[in-house]
């Protein structure tokens, strides 16, 4: 007897919908036969049998949602000794991983270890949110769909806005962020490019110089390293160098930071890199409402904007105010939890960890104030400084490396503006100073965690 298990179809998949069975009890299957279809939030995939045998029992009904990866979905009798159905290899079914660069057997366990699910729940100490319009209806939306909605709304509003990048059109987005845009806006405004980052980033800047408003999607920010010359030398500097004559209103966007088990070349946080450059704005939202409101602002902004998303957040749901007027200001941080004992700054996915850490700290009698930076350049240090003047203690959290990083800058600003208010040296929680390792345990040890944040917060509070 062999259990067929729910396969993981991408590095970050944790569960999916079993859309359809292609076999029934009593059928004989051979290796390679399609036995089922599975839907993830990114794609629909066929599942092939690995082993030969007769289907003894279907353990999950067709249409069942939220089937966990590795849960048994069927039972097979007879045949060889292998144990489970595995997801097909990427070459036969490129939708598998979402990212063609990540070909290979789909890796099972996503390391969303610190439980961002709970953090997505509104924390008890959350201040009332003045950004949500009074009476606005809140709609549960994933970060992925919030980003898509932002682009679609802005493209409807402004005919000069268009999207270009790899797999943004026919494929519906490597991470399905651009799902449906080609159908609505057509090939003129949703442009599939060859794999040519340096080239299409330059084309985007050129089109922006001519007055269009391109959204340039990088499949991940790792690949934008090929294009960094145009982001910095062509986009960031031209307005200044031209004495104000030429503008480059382009949005560069895509997933940034560490996904899950994709190792060093596919896992890094570029916030500090781009935030170093005058002429760029750098935005790194956490929840879906910010993703939508800030992407709309980025598209409307006449300056080049680096918009850093996070693959691990794409599938998470948050409340988003309904309506097309939800545009948030770039350059304004947000206090996501109030507290009097220690200030924790974070951005992007790290906000979820910081909120979780704050809950744990509260259980030990330490009230943390969590400041979501949201924009890295221009950095809203006023909000951070105001918080530190109250708490007298500071922990910075970032997914990137510490040296010369975002935390280093936050701390410098706090020292410049609130030196006398500090009761303890500030602490940084960041990625360990190594290329991100592949092994699950080393990867987890390398990245910031709730535990590391709790420890750092206690340290600056002189609590052990």
């Amino acid at each position: 007897m062999t259990d067929i298990l729910m396969p993981a179809l991408s590095p970050t998949m944790e569960e999916g919908t079993l859309a359809k069975w292609h076999v029934k009890v009593g059928d004989t299957v051979a290796s390679g036969d399609v036995i089922a279809e599975i839907e993830t939030d990114k794609a629909t995939m066929e599942v092939e049998a690995v082993d030969e045998g007769v289907i003894e029992e279907l353990l999950v009904e067709a249409g069942a949602e939220g089937v966990k990866v590795n849960a048994p979905i069927a039972r097979l009798s007879g045949g060889a000794a292998a144990t489970k159905a595995e997801s097909p290899q990427a070459p036969e079914a490129p939708e598998a991983s979402g990212d063609p660069e990540k070909k290979g057997p789909a890796e099972a366990k996503a390391e969303q270890s610190e439980g961002e699910g709970p953090a997505a729940v509104r924390p008890a100490k959350a201040p009332t949110d003045p950004e949500i319009p009074a009476g606005a209806k809140l709609v549960k939306t994933t970060v992925r769909d919030a980003l898509r909605d932002a682009m679609a709304e802005e493209m409807r509003r402004d005919e000069t806005v268009f999207l270009m990048g790899e797999e943004v059109g026919q494929y519906q987005g490597a991470y399905k962020v651009s799902r449906g845009l080609l159908e609505e806006f057509g090939e003129r405004r949703v442009i599939d490019t060859p794999i040519t980052e340096h080239g299409f980033a330059g084309l985007g800047v050129g089109a922006a110089m001519a007055g269009l408003k391109p959204i340039v999607e990088f499949m991940t920010w790792n690949f934008a390293m090929q294009a960094i010359d145009h982001i910095i030398n062509s986009a960031a500097k031209t307005h200044y160098m031209s004495g104000g004559q030429i503008t480059t209103p382009v949005v560069f966007r895509g997933p940034n930071g560490a996904a899950a088990r994709v190792a060093a070349q596919h896992s890094q946080d570029f916030a500090a890199w781009y935030a170093h450059v005058p002429g760029l704005k750098v935005v790194a939202p956490y929840d879906a409402a910010d993703a939508k409101g800030l992407l709309k602002a980025a598209i409307r902004d006449p300056n080049p904007v680096v918009f850093l998303e996070h693959e691990m957040l794409y599938g998470q749901e948050f409340d988003v105010p309904e309506g097309e007027d939800y545009v948030l200001p770039i350059g304004v941080a947000k206090v996501r939890r109030t507290g009097a004992d220690v200030t924790i700054t974070a951005y992007s996915r790290m906000v979820g960890l910081a909120l979780k850490a704050a809950e744990e700290l509260a259980a030990e009698g330490i009230e943390a104030e969590v400041v979501d930076l949201r924009t890295i350049r221009p950095l809203d240090h006023d909000t951070v400084v105001e918080s530190v003047r109250k708490t007298h203690r500071l922990v910075t959290v970032e997914e990137g490396w510490g040296p010369m990083g975002v935390g280093a800058e936050v701390i410098a600003r706090v020292i410049e503006h609130a030196f006398d208010y500090l009761d303890a040296p500030p602490a940084r929680v960041c990625q360990e100073d190594v290329p991100l390792p592949y092994a699950a345990n080393l990867e987890a040890a390398s990245l910031p965690s709730v535990e590391k944040i709790v420890k750092a917060a206690k340290a600056v509070c002189y609590r052990s």
Partner: protein, 342 residues
């Protein structure tokens, strides 16, 4: 596929005749080329006096290209090039005073002194720089063409780069997209034989630059870049191709720069004789002048009048560039960002 190579001899190969062009236009070409020559000579002088700093790449010897191509452009066509850009700016009608004052880093410069020799722009003249990074104009110019296609405005982006830049990867990324999407762009490769100090033969496995688009199905043509009428003739064909929706076209302009790569380049990689030979036999300005006299278009007096006019314009530009004040310190932090209504 590369179109049959055009005759590249230095003779009067143009299909246009003196009659068809008319006296005024021909004299205009002469004037425009001479203006660039004298402007650049003066820039070299100001550099020697310490009034111009940093890098300064002179266009002397290559004047026929910018002037010839500009002469067939339609209003709204864009121009973009790299750092040997003074000639293009003058050709597309920017004020010599503003260009020279930018070289001296003064408030009256076209970028208010904040760009310098390599970074000048003019929205009005549809001149999109002026870029200091070798190869960068290729995708940027292709992006201008993408905008033309997007708007279906019938305009063409003239995208210049050199034989050295033609070895940059981003040029081929641009070729691919331009051909794939049939974008209205003319790539003008100014082949002056030397990528800084490295000759074409030492840097390029295929030295015929007009063939560089072959694997992208982009037609190319070799042109005598020292003959303004040949340049004009070829540019017309290329522009018609691009404007007609047939996609990009490559023009390889065979040319020569008389000066070093920049002011600080002693040019030891070539002989004095080589330079003198080109000046003597292929100089674009002398070539046109002789033809104008030979064919009775203009007499010595008319040409001298132009010489005097150009001399005056350049003297005025130099004077303006010397006397325009340095930018106010308050300019340091302006124009980093566009101030925007959200």
């Amino acid at each position: 596929m590369a179109r049959a190579k055009q005759a590249a001899k230095a003779g009067d190969s143009s299909a246009e005749t003196v009659e068809s062009l008319g006296k005024d236009r021909l004299l205009g070409f002469y004037r425009d080329m001479l203006l660039i020559r004298r402007f650049e000579e003066r820039a070299g002088q100001l550099y020697g006096m310490g009034l111009i700093g940093g890098f300064c790449h002179l266009y002397i010897g290559q004047e026929a290209i910018a002037v010839g191509v500009q002469s067939i452009q339609e209003k709204g066509d864009q121009v973009i090039t790299a750092y040997r850009d003074h000639g293009h700016m003058l050709a597309c009608g920017m004020d010599p005073k503003e260009v020279m004052a930018e070289l001296t880093g003064r408030a009256g410069g076209s970028s208010k002194g904040k760009g310098g020799s390599m970074h000048m722009f003019s929205r009005e003249a549809e001149f999109y720089g002026g870029h200091g990074i070798v190869g960068a104009p290729a995708p940027l110019g292709t992006g201008l063409a993408l905008a033309n296609r997007y708007r279906e405005n019938g305009k063409v982006a003239f995208t210049y780069f050199g034989d050295g830049a033609a070895n940059q990867g981003q040029v081929y990324e641009s070729f691919n997209m331009a051909a794939l999407w049939k974008l209205p762009v003319v790539y003008v490769i100014e082949n002056n034989q030397y990528a800084m100090g490295t000759s074409l033969e030492r840097s390029s496995s295929e030295t015929h630059m007009y063939k560089r688009g072959a694997s992208f199905r982009i037609p190319g043509e070799e042109v005598d870049g020292m003959d303004v009428l040949a340049v004009r003739d070829a540019a017309k064909r290329a522009a018609a191709h691009a404007r007609n929706g047939d996609g990009p076209f490559i023009l390889e302009m065979k040319t020569y720069r008389y000066r070093g790569h920049s002011m600080s380049d002693p040019a030891k990689y070539r002989t004095r004789e080589e330079v003198d030979e080109v000046r003597k036999t292929r100089d674009p300005i002398e070539h046109l002048r002789e033809r104008l006299e030979r064919e009775g278009v203009a007499d010595d007096a008319a040409l001298k009048a132009i010489d005097a006019e150009v001399k005056r314009i350049v003297a005025d530009a130099a004077e303006f560039a010397r006397t325009s004040p340095e930018p106010d310190l308050s300019e340091l932090y302006t124009e980093v960002y566009v101030e925007a209504p959200q």
